[in-house]
Symmetry: C2
Subunit: 229 residues, 2 copies
């Protein structure tokens, strides 16, 4: 979306307020009528902007929705982090606050305290919180469902939203390999799926409850293996 030309005067009018209205309209429409029926025209009407305003900034409804969803994910992550901090504050678990603060949103990287299991559990618990955020659930399900049957959108969703998050796990696992906590012959990009994908499948397909105990168990099983040691 970035242009090589100098920013035109119009770009200064891309106010936070219009951007927010367009994101909100896009998310609301995909939840209410589904991805296939959501159009640029519909988003513009609901946001109270001209459709040329949207076309000036985005090339397609997929781009609008992906950015809107990225924004929503960041909001959900912030809300979940805040709720977790509040909850832990009430419970008086002050010892973990430093870690929580560092975890923040996954996009800022996975913490590296030197304890791989603890760091992974912390981040997966944050993801559990995000998945339980009602504001996040309907739009993310609508977009994920469309991605299942719409390969182009599915691949863009992965490239823009999912893979960057997975790469944070790759970074953390590489660090664990350097620290001798993970076998050097293991491919981190596959390894992360042992604890990330089960959570994703439970969420996508309702195959089981999503709890902290569950994600903690996934990390323990993945790190230690199922076979006797």
């Amino acid at each position: 979306m970035a242009s090589n030309n100098p920013a035109p005067p119009d770009s200064t009018r891309r106010s936070e307020r219009s951007r927010r209205a367009i994101y909100d309209a896009a998310i609301a429409l995909v939840v209410e009528i589904g991805y296939p029926k959501t159009t640029i025209e519909g988003i513009a009407a609901r946001a109270g902007v001209g459709k040329q305003t949207i076309y000036r900034w985005w090339g397609s409804k997929a781009e609008v929705l992906l950015e809107a969803f990225l924004d929503l994910s960041e909001q959900a992550a912030r809300t979940a982090a805040q709720e977790r901090e509040d909850r832990e504050g009430q419970e008086g678990q002050e010892g973990q606050e430093g870690q929580e603060g560092r975890a923040g949103h996954e996009s800022q990287g996975i913490p590296d305290t030197g304890d791989l299991a603890a760091d992974l559990k912390l981040v997966l618990r944050a993801t559990v919180d995000e998945l339980h955020n009602p504001a996040f659930e309907a739009p993310s399900r609508a977009l994920a469902a469309e991605g299942v049957v719409n390969e182009e959108l599915g691949r863009r969703f992965v490239a823009k939203l999912l893979e960057p998050q997975l790469q944070l796990y790759v970074d953390r696992l590489r660090s664990a390999q350097e620290a001798g906590q993970m076998r050097p012959d293991i491919d981190p990009r596959i390894a992360l799926e042992l604890f990330v994908s089960p959570l994703a499948q439970r969420w996508l397909q309702y195959t089981g409850p999503i709890t902290y105990a569950y994600t903690d168990t996934l990390v323990d099983y993945a790190l230690n293996g199922l076979a006797p040691r």
Copy 2:
């Protein structure tokens, strides 16, 4: 769907041919126009039967589709098994034929040769073949996508189709625990997700290629763990 009353004379007319026509019509419609727009009336018209014929045998379009899909899955599994046998026959890998014959379709249970890794790899390779079957892909994606946004359908899909398959892994892992090949404190229902869910997520979300090498790696990582031994 089974009645406690003696089968009425009409039930004898539930011929294989009508059943097949209804399944085919249901699958074709959900692929072409999607789950929400598919109706009993539409299925009946396309199958060339009266809609009362469908209502006599099934309570809702969800039930028709789930049975049609179960039937399709069994067909896809048979096709995949046959292709695998043909391929291995050509490659002259006669030593594995006995195992293949036992594996057949997952619904007949996961083989137990005493070698847990080999048995799991065999069954997951069969699943890779099924996922690559074009006849299976579009309808299974249509139904899976609807399940993501339609919790009731999603849960029925799991209860009727997915969980019975997962329970076969539970049985095989319990057998491994009894044989001392898996730690006794491990919950098999969670453990199976370490190798099943990554494959599911790659298929649902296009997060990576689906190959035998990939599923073999998942089994090795899950059994041996990521941490140094």
